[in-house]
């Protein structure tokens, strides 16, 4: 992934893939350097300040960053002691990643929603696209069930020819279908990284004496004493995450599990470090 950024985006740092020069979108002023093309000098500024400054423009990298954000009801879970729900955490994570992409000049696309309602934005570059996607993410509320096959098929049919796909979800259902849904990741034209966002309480269960759990996405409910099944539950949950990693590895996607009580910067670093692994 990092190599591709370097090749196609004149990348000079981990998140400095921006190419200044022939682009069309104004980026910033800087002091005129002798030898530079005089067309870049902003003469209006010179007339006012008697200083030669040249305008720099941002160029598109032609790299696509497509986010898939799970908006199903289970993402709305927030355990005791958590600062926010999984979905809110995912929203913030998505915003960070989008900002990174925007700073790098990537074209940004988004698939978000749930089984009942899926919103798709084809990748575009620029601030407006960035703002639109942020607005779209901000207005979402977790509801309904996970994406199912028709939504994924539609998504895949609209994917650009290449790019980076970031999937943010709790991945608690339909893990056996992921291999099929994410089969595009096996192509070398795409990079796919999956952020699994979970609430710490989902790993250890609440401390209550007697609880009746109600499925957030369906009809079922289970009455139990968390104390009595906690160890068994933790083992099963851990086993599941291991299994999920293996499934995603098969598709060529990478799994990164994040807890909502973890620092977001840490999450970004992990993201970048994951991206840096390929370097």
């Amino acid at each position: 992934m990092l190599a591709r950024v370097v090749v196609e985006g004149n990348y000079s740092g981990l998140h400095r893939s921006r190419k200044h020069g022939q682009g069309t979108e104004f980026f910033q002023y800087r002091s005129y350097e002798p030898g530079e093309d005089l067309k870049r000098v902003d003469w209006k500024v010179y007339a006012k300040s008697k200083h030669l400054v040249s305008k720099t423009y941002q160029e598109s990298t032609h790299s696509n960053l497509i986010l898939v954000l799970d908006g199903s009801a289970s993402m709305g879970y927030q355990g005791d002691g958590s600062a926010c729900s999984k979905f809110r955490y995912s929203q913030m994570l998505a915003a960070c990643l989008l900002y990174l992409g925007y700073r790098q000049g990537d074209r940004l696309g988004l698939l978000c929603g749930s089984k009942s309602r899926a919103d798709w934005m084809f990748p575009h570059g620029g601030r407006e696209s960035f703002n639109s996607i942020l607005k779209m993410i901000g207005s979402m509320h977790p509801n309904g069930e996970d994406f199912e096959e028709p939504a994924w098929n539609q998504f895949k049919s609209k994917l650009p020819s290449q790019g980076t796909v970031v999937v943010i979800s709790d991945f608690l259902e339909n893990e056996n279908q992921l291999e099929k849904y994410l089969n595009f990741a096996s192509s070398n034209r795409y990079d796919c990284i999956c952020f699994q966002v979970i609430d710490p309480m989902e790993e250890v269960l609440p401390q209550d004496e007697a609880v009746r759990f109600i499925h957030m996405e369906g009809e079922g409910e289970v009455s139990l004493s968390p104390e009595r099944i906690r160890n068994e539950y933790k083992a099963r949950f851990s086993e599941y995450i291991d299994k999920l990693g293996l499934i995603l590895a098969k598709t060529g996607a990478e799994l990164c599990t994040l807890r909502t009580n973890e620092d977001l910067g840490f999450a970004i670093r992990r993201f970048l470090s994951v991206r840096g692994i390929g370097k």
Binding site: Q78, L134, L172, V211, I214, M216
Partner: protein
């Protein structure tokens, strides 16, 4: 104040123990938590634990209150104004108290309440003139309006309820005459328990006379004009033969309440309790109990219901336990008796003596009375008379008038023809106007010829009640060898005919149940083989209708107290319960059954009947004045409160829904 129509239902209040038990023992309700995935969860047992949270205590309180309210609803609460409207003398200046003194006033504390209320009103009233009217022992005790308070109080202590029924209409009819002729407002206050049987046929037209009517119910307890409770009664009793040397006594008991009741019934005889039977009386139902006593050891016995009872008059009943006197029969025959007369007399005596059961209900021949009957101008000293071989001697002895007297007084007689001189017989019968038919000669079976036989009984013939199967075959096989041919029968029943349609028996019915049976053949083997047959005994008894005993024929006459006018000839004081005897007639004066009935009149209907008006507006206005303030049912309010509690309980008891939405970071 709040009262309850069904106070027993308050026992259901013990149900409040249920929520307390549940609170102590039942497991806590699990807290509801929406969770992202259930796939890693499995259900497990939830530990039981006592409730400790204050919110749980509120829940317990709610549930206890709910059950209390439920209990109160079941007890049918109502609001009863405490102030009694009864002592409310109006502005009328003449007021006449009419006392109901029928037997039912002895129960439910009615009489004591009546005297107390009336005394209080007499003493409280200042500008009113009071009078009093009551029936006592068949006479009217009356004090016109304006009588002195001393007289009124004195009379109040003298009068009392009577163990009789009736007399109320006479009191009502006589009441207007006790008012003065002055142009003052007049008012009649009827003091009664208004027992339904006593009042349902009473009527008057006091409104037309300008007299106001006030009903003053007594003995109604806390529920005026409602059905009363707490009465059980002996409603009937009978004595019969209980086999050898025993008398069987049974009594019918009645429970007027709508709950089952167990009672002890004791039989007193010879001053001691001879037997006690425990009986379970079904709600609003009857049952029977039986006793046995040694026969002839006791003349009287008394049945008694033990225990508390709202109305005591009907808890005792005395009865005669002696067998009824034997019934008497006798013969009239010619002084020069023929062998046929003697043989016939012998057969018929055997028939009659075997008619009874030989022990309890017996027949004996009484020659003296039969002889006395010939000289009696009226009366019925014999129960059955047989005139054998009626012929000229009957006319010579002048026996036709006493026989007719006997028959018209309800007597029963059998007449058989003589051996000869049939024309004379026919003439005597016609002349004395005993029985009117035309003599047609003698039918006699020739030597070795087929005898005459009895024809099949017609439908509707009363003999069909007795004869069927083998017995009717025996009757049809009876040989009639000779009989008198009867023609032109006038107004007579012919229960038996031969197969050619000739009458074999003629029956003439007299007023008062008298019956003359004329047999066209003699009860001797020369005329018929009937005396040799099994059907002989029942045929004679049925034809002459002597099977059932006349209640006054040496038996026991039962009279309800106060009904003596229907038996004026008895000359007994039938206003008291008990056992009496006049000559051989035994009499039982018993409690009038209708007085046991606990229902009371509808005040609206009663006022309508007494005032002679039916104007609804006026009536309601009067009722407002008479009936204590109607109770206001409260169950709707209790039900509403219970519903609110149930709603709150549902809200509180629902598992707490975990709300995980907390303060979040609002921006990325």
């Amino acid at each position: 104040m709040i009262e309850f129509a069904q106070p027993l239902a308050l026992w259901t209040g013990l149900l409040v123990g249920l929520p307390v038990l549940a609170h102590l023992a039942y497991r806590r309700i699990a807290q509801k938590i929406p969770f992202s995935s259930l796939r890693f969860l499995r259900s497990s047992t939830i530990p039981r634990s006592g409730r400790k949270k204050p919110s749980d205590l509120w829940l317990l309180l709610l549930r206890v209150l709910f059950f209390i309210l439920l209990t109160l609803i079941l007890a049918d609460p109502y609001w009863q104004d405490q102030e009694k409207v009864l002592p409310n003398p109006t502005a009328s200046s003449e007021c006449l108290f009419l006392f109901d003194t029928t037997a039912s006033m002895a129960g439910w504390g009615a009489w004591e309440e009546a005297v107390s209320l009336v005394r209080a009103r007499i003493l409280d009233g200042e500008n009113e003139k009071y009078g009093l009217l009551a029936s006592q022992g068949g006479a009217l005790i009356e004090l016109p309006t304006g009588s002195s308070v001393a007289d009124l109080e004195s009379t109040l202590t003298q009068i009392s309820h009577q163990p009789t029924v009736g007399g109320l209409q006479a009191v009502l009819d006589h009441a207007p005459s006790l008012f003065s002729q002055d142009n003052t407002s007049k008012k009649i206050v009827i003091v009664s328990d208004f027992q339904k049987s006593s009042w349902q046929e009473r009527s008057s037209k006091f409104s037309e006379l300008g007299i106001e009517v006030e009903l003053l119910p007594v003995g109604h307890g806390d529920a005026p004009w409602q059905r009363r409770s707490g009465n059980r009664a002996i409603v009937d009793s009978r004595v019969a033969s209980g086999g050898e040397d025993k008398v069987r006594i049974w009594a019918a008991l009645r429970n007027w309440d709508d709950v089952r009741s167990d009672v002890n019934v004791s039989l007193f005889a010879g001053g001691q309790i001879r037997q006690t039977v425990v009986s379970s009386l079904p709600p609003l139902g009857s049952t029977q109990v039986q006793f046995t006593l040694p026969s002839k050891d006791f003349a009287q016995a008394t049945l008694q219901l033990d225990g508390e009872d709202s109305y005591a008059y009907d808890n005792n009943q005395s009865l005669w336990v002696l067998p009824p006197l034997p019934r008497a029969f006798g013969f009239w025959k010619s002084n020069q008796s023929s062998p046929s007369d003697k043989l016939e007399e012998q057969f018929l005596r055997a028939a009659m003596e075997s008619s009874g059961d030989g022990e309890w209900d017996t027949w004996v021949e009484n020659k003296q009375r039969a002889s006395d009957l010939k000289n009696e101008a009226s009366g019925r000293s014999l129960d059955f008379l047989m005139v054998l071989g009626l012929s000229g001697w009957f006319e010579d002895d002048g026996l036709a008038p006493p026989l007719i007297n006997f028959l018209t007084n309800g007597g029963k007689a059998l007449v058989t023809p003589p051996d000869e001189a049939y024309v004379r017989m026919n003439r005597v019968l016609k002349k004395s106007d005993l029985i009117n038919f035309t003599f047609g000669g003698l039918n006699r079976t020739a030597f070795r010829m087929e005898p005459y036989r009895i024809d099949a009984l017609q439908e509707g013939n009363r003999l069909n009640r007795v004869f069927s199967g083998d017995s009717i075959r025996d009757l049809y096989l009876t040989e009639i060898r000779q009989f008198i041919t009867v023609g032109e029968v006038m107004d007579l029943d012919i229960p038996l005919r031969d197969r050619s349609g000739h009458p074999l028996v003629l029956v003439r019915t007299f007023p008062n149940g008298g019956k003359l049976v004329f047999s066209t053949f003699r009860m001797v083997p020369q005329w018929s083989d009937l005396p040799m047959r099994n059907s002989f005994l029942p045929l004679v008894a049925e034809l002459c209708d002597v099977k059932d005993r006349d209640p006054q024929a040496g038996g026991v006459l039962r009279v309800e107290s106060g009904q003596s006018s229907a038996h004026a000839e008895l000359r007994i004081d039938a206003t008291k319960f008990g056992l009496f005897q006049q000559g051989e007639q035994r009499i039982e004066v018993v409690h009038p059954l209708v007085e046991s009935y606990p229902e009371v009149m509808n005040p609206y209907d009663l006022l309508d009947a007494l005032t002679g008006t039916s104007t609804a507006g006026e009536m309601e206005a009067e009722i407002e004045n008479i009936i204590p303030q109607e109770s206001q049912p409260l169950w709707q309010w209790f039900a509403l409160a219970a519903f609110v509690l149930l709603l709150l309980e549902t809200l509180f008891s629902a598992p707490f829904y975990s709300n995980t939405q907390k303060q979040e970071v609002q921006s990325a």
